[in-house]
Every structure is written in C-alpha cells, then in structure tokens.
C-alpha cells in the first residue's frame, strides 16, 4: 500500500535509528547466564548500556573488547582473547555473545577465524562457556536488523537436527519490538491451550524487573542453551515480525520444523490468526477466558472508535513496530499521515499509509504538522512540544518514563489496553471549543450586512458603512 522512500538528507537530525550492535546485544540479553559483548571501542558499549539501563531501569550486563587505535589497526584478536579469558574468570557465563561494531568492521577483523584460534589455544580454560559471534556493522541497517541477525546467529549455532518432535511444545522467535510484557502475554496465550512455549530470546524472563537473591554479573533469566537446542524439536515454531523471517527460514531449513510467521500480533484479526493456529496445534477449543477477552476487545474497539476515528497520527518506529501500530490505529479509523522508519523491510509496503520514509525525527516532525498525535520513542518529546501535540511513547528508548518493560500491546488484552490508552490520550487532549472557533468568511459577513466585501474602493476616506473595515476574521491558532 505504501511507497517506500529514503531521506536524501546528508545530515540526520534527531535520530530515530539506533545501531545494529545494540540490537544484537539486546537480543543476547534475552539468553540466560550470558555476557553480551561489543567488539569495538569502550564507548560503543557504554552508550548502549546507558541507553538500556535508562529504558529498563535494570542493571545491564554488557562488556567491551575495549579496542584502541593501535589494536584496531593491528587487529583485535588479542583483545577478544583477553576479553574472553577475563569474562570467563570474573563471571563464568554459559555463553559469551559477541557483536561487531563499525570500528572493527571497517578494519575487517575476521572474528570467526580469531575464535577458532582462541578456542584451539584456550579450549580447557574456556570449557563450559560457549561463544557466539554476529557481524553487525554500525553503518549498515538498524537496531531490529541487529536483533534479527543475532537471533539467527544463535539459532544457527545451537539448534540441532532432531529425529523426534515433542508434541505440545511451541517455539517462539519474537521480534525486537515486543516488550517483556508482550512475551509474557504470548506465553500465556500458548499455555492457555495446554501447550508449552520456548522463547528465544526471552527478555520476559531477564528484563522483566525481578529482584534476585544475589548479585549476578551476567544475565539472569532468559532462554537457556538447552532451550535454543530444543527449538528444532518443537511441534511448531512461530516468529513475530517480518524481521524474524531469516532466522525462522534458517531454522526450518535445518530441522524441517513446521513454522509460521506472524507479521504482527496486535489487532483483532491478527490475534484471531494466532488463536486459530493454537487451536489447530493443540486440538483444543479456546478457553472461556480467551473468549471473554476477545469480547472485551470488541467492546473496546466500539468504545474507542469514537475517539480514534478520523484522527491524524504520525508514527516513527522500526519497521515491524510501525506496521503493528499503523495497522491498529488505521483499523480504528485513524489516518496515518506520517510514517517514518529506520531501515528497509518488506513489511513497509504493507503499512497503511501513503508513504513510508526511512528517515529521522526531523522528517517525522515535518510530516506531523497538523496531526493530533505523535507516536514514537522518548526522543520525540522535543518534537511533540514544538508541534503542541501529545507524545505517545512506543519502542526503545523510553528513558523519561518508568514501566516500559510492562507496556503491553499484543493479544486481545494488549490490543484492548492499547486502544484504551490511545483513546484516553485523545480524550485528555480534547480541544474545548470557544466562541470564535467557527468564524464566518468575509464574504458571508458582507452578504449578511447587505453589501459585497471590498465593494467600497475609497480606502476608508468616504463615509459609507465601511464594510471592509468592520470585518474581523479571527486567526485560529494552528493546532
């Protein structure tokens, strides 16, 4: 439906996009007892870490190979070797997951080669700790691409071909746009049919805000290596978001496991499709509480359409989140006037908007003039203030609010709540009408006074009724 265009500006102003290695490390944070690490200068890790800490209000384990100028030029093998040994000694994780950065990709470090040599040299020392690597240059793609590449790397590295499938086990490859609350909801949906869910990665177990008994330097909670290995033995594997297609296809090709990709799980029909699949997989009818939830969603849509119908919204988000949000808002009768995203994706053409622009928040702000609502991450706050419209925070980062991990927007309940929140935002910002909101045009006023606007050409020096002078056309402040 939408045509996809790339911004032609040389300078990105107010970035919407974040970089690939950060998306990759975010995925690694959904793996249990893991130390994510960026192969780059220490600033790469520091920025990413601070961003995620401020979003989740959680300690974020993330390391760096601390590359400097000399080690970059000579190659980073020594740094990776030292880093692996240091992490092994200090944290002893089950997995060290490495993402490359712009710096080391520009140099062209052959990390796969380094890892083979390091394993040969330190096999014994590193025993009990797996190492996985994904190539994620900062200057290619965006956050969700890094996530997708990382999940594919993990699945490729650890999923094993199987001879037998476990009935009732459903694998899930969630996209980067799902929150811990979304994953928890998806798990409950799957379990509602007596099925078990195996999620890779699983940030609902690691970044959901729990209080552990002891301090751990690595991730705590999330998919285990056994979980990853067991994906191939699932009865069925689903993926959420177009970004997950490469990982899902790769898994299917390796193991022959049946797979289904859901482009989104927000919106009535989208959730219906998932429920239909779960009914088929389990051979069970939908439980009563799901039926009630569906009814609640229908009711929310009926109540909500008064407030969303005809509203003009501007959305800035990564492709899969953009698609989900634009779909729900347009299904409720709103008009997606501006859609800005970070990276290419086949799903962009399906976004219900005239055009999707791969650009930045400056582009979004320009496109959002005259809109009623801005939906983007917290960095949209300055734009929203300038535009004089409310900001509905979606995606990462949301550093100026708490509870981002528990924002729910999938399933019947999540869609219901999303609609309520959107509608309430409109209600809270409803424009109260004033006496001068509906001024008559000069022509009508003149007609009412028995003259024609501009009929007197004397410039006010004559003593005629001076129709032109008396006409007051109020200037309505732009909304």
């Amino acid at each position: 439906m939408a045509s996809v265009r790339e911004s032609k500006k040389a300078c990105a102003v107010n970035p919407l996009k974040m970089s690939q290695p950060l998306g990759a490390c975010y995925a690694f944070l959904g793996l249990h007892n893991t130390m994510p690490m960026m192969h780059g200068s220490q600033g790469c890790t520091s920025f990413g870490l601070v961003l995620l800490v401020r979003h989740f209000k959680e300690a974020i384990p993330m390391q760096t190979t601390a590359m400097n100028e000399v080690s970059t030029i000579l190659g980073g093998m020594d740094n990776i070797e030292q880093a692996l040994l240091n992490i092994k000694k200090r944290a002893n994780p089950a997995l060290i997951a490495i993402a490359s950065t712009g710096l080391t990709e520009t140099k062209g470090d052959d990390v796969d080669g380094y890892l083979r040599l390091i394993r040969a040299k330190h096999g014994e020392t590193l025993a009990g700790t797996e190492v996985v690597y994904v190539s994620t240059p900062d200057y290619v793609g965006a956050f969700q691409d890094g996530w997708a590449a990382a999940v594919k790397a993990v699945v490729d590295a650890f999923s094993e071909p199987v001879t037998q499938r476990v009935a009732g086990r459903v694998g899930v490859l969630p996209g980067a746009h799902l929150t811990p609350a979304d994953l928890e909801e998806l798990r409950e949906l799957i379990e509602a049919f007596g099925l078990q869910a195996v999620m890779v990665p699983d940030i609902s177990r690691s970044l959901d805000g729990h209080i552990p008994e002891d301090f751990t330097p690595t991730t705590l909670g999330g998919a285990t290596l056994d979980d990853i290995r067991s994906l191939a033995a699932c009865q069925h594997v689903i993926a959420v978001g177009e970004q997950m297609r490469p990982a899902l296809d790769s898994l299917a090709a390796r193991s022959g496991v049946p797979v289904t990709l859901f482009e989104r799980l927000s919106g009535l029909t989208a959730v219906d499709a998932l429920v239909a699949l779960l009914m088929r997989l389990s051979g069970k009818p939908a439980p009563a509480r799901l039926k009630r939830q569906r009814g609640q969603l229908q009711d929310a849509m009926l109540d909500g359409h008064f407030h969303l119908g005809g509203k003009r919204v501007a959305i800035g988000a990564e492709p899969d989140l953009l698609f989900a949000l634009a779909s729900v808002t347009s299904e409720m009768g709103a008009d997606v006037v501006a859609a800005v995203t970070t990276t290419h994706s086949p799903v962009l053409e399906k976004v219900p908007a005239v055009e999707v622009l791969i650009g930045d928040l400056e582009d979004l702000e320009l496109g959002a003039v005259g809109c009623d609502l801005l939906l983007t991450h917290a960095h949209g706050r300055q734009s929203a203030t300038r535009l004089g419209i409310p900001l509905f925070r979606v995606g990462i980062p949301q550093f100026d609010r708490i509870g981002a991990a528990h924002q729910l927007s999938i399933g019947y309940r999540g869609t219901r709540d999303l609609i309520f929140q959107l509608a309430n935002t409109f209600i809270a910002n409803m424009h109260a009408h004033g006496p001068e909101d509906w001024p008559l045009p000069a022509e009508a006023i003149a007609a009412a006074r028995g003259g024609t606007a501009g009929a007197c050409n004397s410039g006010g020096s004559c003593s005629c009724s001076g129709v032109t002078e008396d006409i007051v056309v109020p200037i309505i402040p732009a909304r």
Binding site: C11, A12, P15, S19, M37, R90, G102, L103, H379
Partner: protein, 475 residues
C-alpha cells in the same frame, strides 16, 4: 594516528599544571595519564563521549557528530545539562554514514551536512565531532571544517577526539582543546568590568549553576563565560577578557584553565560548589583573585558578609536533619572531585562516610580525602558490583550515593540509593544544593518503602506457614 590528534594528546599529557603528571618520570609521562583498559572488564565512556560531554552544554551551537549512527543515535539528548535559553544543543545532528561512505570517504557528506545545518538552523557556530570509523578511514575533518567556515562565513570547529584514542577523561581535555584552538579569544566583549570571571568545567547539570549564580550576582561578580554549562558561543569566544577563573570538577578541563592563564594572564584556582565550606571558600578565592587583579578590596568584606548570612541560613536548615541522619552510614561510589567534595558535605550533615571510591580520582583528590576523612579513610579503588552488593546486603552501609550505572546494585539489595552523577535530576550545588542533598538523603533513607520491600512474602513467612489455626477455625 592522525598526527595532529597524536600531538594534542601528547600535549595534554604533558600538562604542567597537573602535579600528578609532574611526579612521573619521562617514560611514564609519555605513556600518558590513561590507564590501559582491560578488555572484557572495562566500563566507562570513550574519548568522543568525553569531548561531547565537555562541549555540548554550549547551548546555541549545533553539535554535529561525524560517524555511523551508533555514536549519536544511541546516545543523544541523554544528559541533563540545563539551558536558560537556546535549545539547539539538544537537537541531535549526525552524518549517519553508511557503507558507501566508509568505502568512498565521508567528507562530502560531512560538508553537505554542515551546509544543511547552517541553512536550516543558522547557529552561531557548528562543532564537528570526529569518531572512530571516520578517523580510521582518514576523513580530514579539520580540512572540511576549514573549507566550510570559509564557504559559509561561520565558525565551524573540528573536535578531534575519536573514541578509540582513550577514555572519557581524555576526551574532556581534547574537547576543551578545540575551544582553545578555535574559539577563545576570537571575539571582544562589549564591556569589561573588574568583576568578570570564567567558570571552567561546570556543566550546569540539573541547573546547578543557578544555585550559585544568585550569590555571584548579589556580589556584582559577572560570569563572563561558563565553560560550558548554559554556555553561549559568543561568551566562550570572549572569555579571554575575564579577570579571574575558577576551575570546577577536578582536572577535566585543567588544560583550559592553565592555557588561559598562560595566554591571557587569567589566574585560576580549583574550587568546588559542593559542600558549605567549599562554597564559602570558593567565594573567598574568587573575591581574592579579583581583588588581586584590581577590584576594590571592599569586595572581600561584602563576600564575608554574604557568606556569614548564607552559611547560617544553610546550617540552620541542615540542623533540623542532623538528629535523623547522625551516624547513618554512607557508601560513596563516584569519581574525581566528588570523591572528596561530597564527603565534606555529608560529614556536615552528621553522616558517616564508610567508603569512597577513588577509581577516577587523581592523586590530589586522594590527598584531599585524607585531609577530610583522616589517614585511615576507606578508599575504594575498584569495587566490583558483587562487593558493593554484599556490603549493602550486610548493612555495612545504610545508603549508597553513586551514578546511574550502579544504582541497581543498591536497589536490588533493597537498600536506599541516591543519584549524584551526570544523569541526576536534582541540583546539589552551593548552600541551597547542600540543604537539598541532605533533604533528599533523609527522604530516601526514611521512605516507608524499604520496610515493605524487605518484608517476607507470605510463602516465606513462618507465621503464615503455620496454618493450623486457620484449619481449626474452619473446623
């Protein structure tokens, strides 16, 4: 390495005003003041981060980051340095280079970016920040900036501190060097007074400068330029006409203070706005330096009078908290100047500092700590999060004051925590700030939430587990 960056780093390392540096032998000095980072066990920002922190508070300048999206996209608008006017410094500008730029070079994109910014935003100046990738492929930002400045008739300042040359602290200095090389002394102020000062290394986090400014205003002391909090390009350009300078925040901008003394004869002292006595001392030193440079001697009398009034007012307000806070144990995990300046303040409030981290502190900082806390001061060089957690869990401290990075170590141990680093939203400077800090500590320590979160869950509670009563009731 770019020869110019290399020479700059060497000159920063040879900083004669840094006593720490002067105590080293030739070889150690050449190695520089940066500790070698340990891969897999490192934390903290890079040189680019440091340069950006140092300069971004200049509010009317467009700060353009030349590099891939990570450097700006992952980090922009994340500091709480306040402005009293222009908002442009909060706009994120980056060349967001792609794969083709890496192959063909990013200079053209950089030049076009500068043009777009000037056409759209017309700032008094554009600062261009170098990053690792663009440094590695050999983009010459000095040349591009020079050409752009000529072409557009506007200052375009290269800030050559790519992340991989070192840590944040080095970046602070390299950023400051750009001001010395391209900005300071390029304009003349309309008027000069005998009361003109510079404040160097103050970033106006959470608006802290405004807790101090009224004191200076009352004395008739004019901040000609604050480098860089709530700064303006023109003010920095005119800052060479100040009569005296104060250097805040330990050594992060010592090169600016020292070089402005060399070049323009502006004497400086190192002071702090944190702590009541420190604040008073700072006012005295400022007045003293101005008098030395020709201000009337009565300035000191007025200063002493102001100090007397403000100290009493602050002490009276803090005294109200002393009974509650007396003897409470504080663990202080921060760096640099705060390792000692906050210690003094906390002691004033009756709190006991059971440890202070000195990882980022200089030798002078450590001397100061000994002076304040005594010879047996518990200085923590490099405490692992696990050790912090243990210390809090075992209640060897009642509250931790630190930066955002370690906040969850405290919170997960269900112990009170207060943010005293760059990302904080409360202002703790001057007399007002110290009263606020004490109020915040008290508010945090005595919040009823601690008792609740430490209460056992029903399934862990012995009293609840004994269900015999309930069973009997039902029967």
């Amino acid at each position: 390495m770019d020869a110019r960056v290399s020479a700059k780093i060497q000159s920063v390392f040879e900083e004669p005003a840094c006593e720490h540096n002067q105590n080293k032998d030739e070889k150690a000095r050449k190695k520089g003041c940066t500790k070698q980072l340990s891969p897999g066990a490192a934390a903290g920002g890079c040189a680019f981060d440091g340069a950006k922190i140092a300069l971004q508070p200049i509010a009317d300048v467009a700060h353009l980051v030349h590099g891939p999206i990570a450097c700006e996209g992952n980090s922009w608008d994340n500091r709480n340095s306040s402005t009293s006017g222009p908002q442009l410094y909060r706009t994120g500008f980056t060349t967001d280079i792609g794969e083709l730029d890496v192959i063909y070079g990013g200079e053209k994109r950089l030049f076009k970016s500068i043009r777009e910014i000037i056409e759209k935003y017309d700032p008094p100046a554009v600062f261009v920040y170098q990053t690792c990738v663009t440094a590695l492929i050999g983009d010459d930002i000095e040349a591009v900036c020079k050409r752009a400045a000529e072409k557009f008739g506007k200052p375009v300042v290269p800030v050559n501190a790519p992340g991989f040359v070192g840590p944040k602290n080095l970046g602070n200095k390299l950023g400051a060097e750009a001001l010395l090389d391209y900005v300071v002394g390029t304009q003349e102020p309309e008027v000069s007074t005998a009361y003109d000062i510079n404040i160097i290394g103050e970033y106006n986090l959470a608006g802290e400068l405004w807790q101090v400014r009224p004191l200076l205003d009352a004395l008739g002391i004019r901040i000609l330029s604050c480098i860089s909090g709530d700064g303006r390009y023109n003010e920095v350009a005119q800052s060479h006409r100040a009569r005296a300078a104060m250097m805040v925040c330990s050594k992060s901008m010592i090169n600016v203070a020292r070089k402005m003394e060399d070049r323009y004869g502006i004497p400086f002292f190192e002071g702090s706005f944190y702590g009541i006595e420190d604040m008073s001392d700072t006012l005295r030193q400022l007045a003293g330096l101005l008098i030395q440079r020709g201000a009337p001697a009565e300035l000191m009398d007025r200063t002493e009078a102001l100090i007397a009034v403000e100290e009493k007012r602050a002490w009276d307000r803090i005294a109200a908290y002393r009974p509650r806070l007396e003897g409470k144990k504080v663990l202080l995990i921060t760096g640099g100047v705060k390792s000692w300046s906050v210690v003094a303040a906390l002691q004033e409030a009756g709190l006991e500092v059971v440890g202070t981290s000195v990882k980022k502190s200089t030798k002078e900082d450590k001397e100061k700590i000994k002076e304040i806390m005594g010879e047996d001061a518990h200085m923590i060089d490099d405490m692992t999060p696990r050790e912090m957690f243990k210390m809090l869990r075992e209640a060897r401290a009642d509250i931790m004051l630190s930066g955002g990075r370690s906040q969850f170590v405290a919170l997960k141990a269900k112990m009170p925590w207060l943010d005293i680093n760059q990302e904080r939203h409360y202002a703790y400077a001057g007399y007002e700030g110290m009263v606020d800090l004490v109020r915040e500590i008290s508010k945090t320590l005595f919040n009823p939430v601690w008792e609740q979160v430490r209460a056992p869950a029903p399934w862990d509670d012995v009293a609840v587990l004994d269900l015999s009563d309930a069973v009997a009731e039902v029967a």
